[in-house]
Symmetry: C2
Subunit: 348 residues, 2 copies
Amino acid sequence: MKTFSEKLFMNELRKKYRPATIIEVARRAGVSPATVSRVLNGTAAVVPETEQRVREAIAELNFTPHPAARQLINQRTNAIGLLLPEISGEFFPPMLRGIEAEVRNSGYDLLIHSTQENLNSGRRPLREHNTDGLIVFPESVDDAELHRLFKIGFPVLLLHQSSPEGISFPIVTVENKSGAEMLINHLIEAHGRRRIVYLQGPESHQDSRWRERGYRDALESHGIPFDPELVEYGGFDEAEACDAIRQMLIDGVDFDAVFAGDDDAATGVIAALKQAGRDIPGDVAVVGFDDVPFSRFISPSLTTIRAPIEQVGREAVKQLVSLIEKGHAEPEILLPTEIIIRQSCGCP
Amino acid sequence: MKTFSEKLFMNELRKKYRPATIIEVARRAGVSPATVSRVLNGTAAVVPETEQRVREAIAELNFTPHPAARQLINQRTNAIGLLLPEISGEFFPPMLRGIEAEVRNSGYDLLIHSTQENLNSGRRPLREHNTDGLIVFPESVDDAELHRLFKIGFPVLLLHQSSPEGISFPIVTVENKSGAEMLINHLIEAHGRRRIVYLQGPESHQDSRWRERGYRDALESHGIPFDPELVEYGGFDEAEACDAIRQMLIDGVDFDAVFAGDDDAATGVIAALKQAGRDIPGDVAVVGFDDVPFSRFISPSLTTIRAPIEQVGREAVKQLVSLIEKGHAEPEILLPTEIIIRQSCGCP
DNA sequence: CTGAAAGCGCTTACAG
DNA sequence: CTGAAAGCGCTTACAG
């Protein structure tokens, strides 16, 4: 609730910089607003001389059409919304960079909203009112809302996750399964490891499940039986992974390698192992996933999987824009991963 | 340019999810749109029973006011724009987290625009049309535009930089000078260093100049004469800093410590020094600035300055909102820094 | 090729 | 306390 004098002040201030309107441009060019609109949008032919005068008037008045007015009439916002649970982590900046670049490239604005704790706090959310489409990270929108958006046919693209039961939005993510396979194959074939732990990431992350799929398949293809004792929850988190390994050590679980959920988790694994006096990679090899910037700085440097994160962001926008403008998109895009061999696996 | 059938499709699609309007709510509640507006905004008293019916109608129709319509009439967008040159680096996520949280908290939307290469490409920029105020990083808006915004009285807050000549926007940044002083004092007092190199960051970054100021003052207060030979350009960049130190080594410059422009630069310094067979911190102590996450992982772990980056983001938003809503803000806010002692300075 | 008019979904004086 | 009407700045049939 603003006070009266504050309101007064704000209105006054606003007048100071009220920009030129299409009416003023029209008046200056001696034409109707409709004509100005037409040269603005190239929506109908205008005789060259008229167009010339309009363009001059636009330039002289430094005119830009008011987005809100356009939104109202066109029923589109020209904005793409990005919903994510938290702004942090090593892979967020390249992802955002890719998204931002492509959004801009496509002529849209980017609205971002980090859902944080207050998933249901009812604060001005990003939806069909203020965006033309949404890019959604895992854990940032609940299933009910996703269902609602699906029902009304609103364009949504899912990042690193698949659709909940009963609905299907297009998704883009990376080759988690084959990435995991490369890692496990390497551990088995190059370093003779057979008791490989897999530390699961968060339940809701599709990524983690696909990595587990790759882990299992790789074991199977080498005739190594799957041992449930070797699979534990470690999150995508340094501390949680550290605790998980500590516990396995206490429980006396026998293992000679750890495939951490991601690089953050791998950092925790290494800490726990070092603390317990285990040699890495001598006693236990460790591999991660993501190739975050510090992977090469930790000791031993981390063998991991690199995903084209920035490209994931770009592709997500491309598909969403296609969905918005053409009504269809690729149902599923998997970007390829590559293995980055460093020392934590046992390589020199 | 869309094809005709695409346009047709889009219009049809849109109808599918056109949300309820205030008129429909009014009809359902048996009142006028004006009354609905009044209960929506609490802008005038409404008899309880009427209000009750209106609220029910709103709930039943799942009504939310259309932002564009509000914008048009209120002449405010309810959005804050964030302009930055590139989305990357270690300190971007916490900064954005702080900004996003506080923006949301203040009831605004966040529009972000990374200016990247195309500073003047003329793509839908963030300005007075689509935002109520702007948070501006160094190197993302040119001086002419800043002057224009200042002239029309548009709310702008500068981050980590001061206003160009002739105008004055409020700024928020960190205590760069005293941070640098803490570092240099420590190097001199605890480790007896006297030949301390300062690697400058980018020209345009106010931060870097204040750090240099602190460097000089600390030397002076210890009676160590300033030696221009010890100051070189190293950027805020690993590779550039690495090259700079290499060159100094080749030139035979004598030094026993390096104060890098920031932690990224410090990483490059360490690489160059190691490559040249110098012992760190034995031969040369190295200190950085920022305390990015990997500072503790590099070897030796980095002594550096920690700035409350997330808080900088929050404070920036608070000041901008104050400027938007009240017409004034603190001219300059400096958030305190603290020294993080690790091993690269010579401490155990 | 161009203009007058209606309308997008709201809010706010102005009456009553 | 409430409604009818005007208007925010645009675009788009509809005539001409």
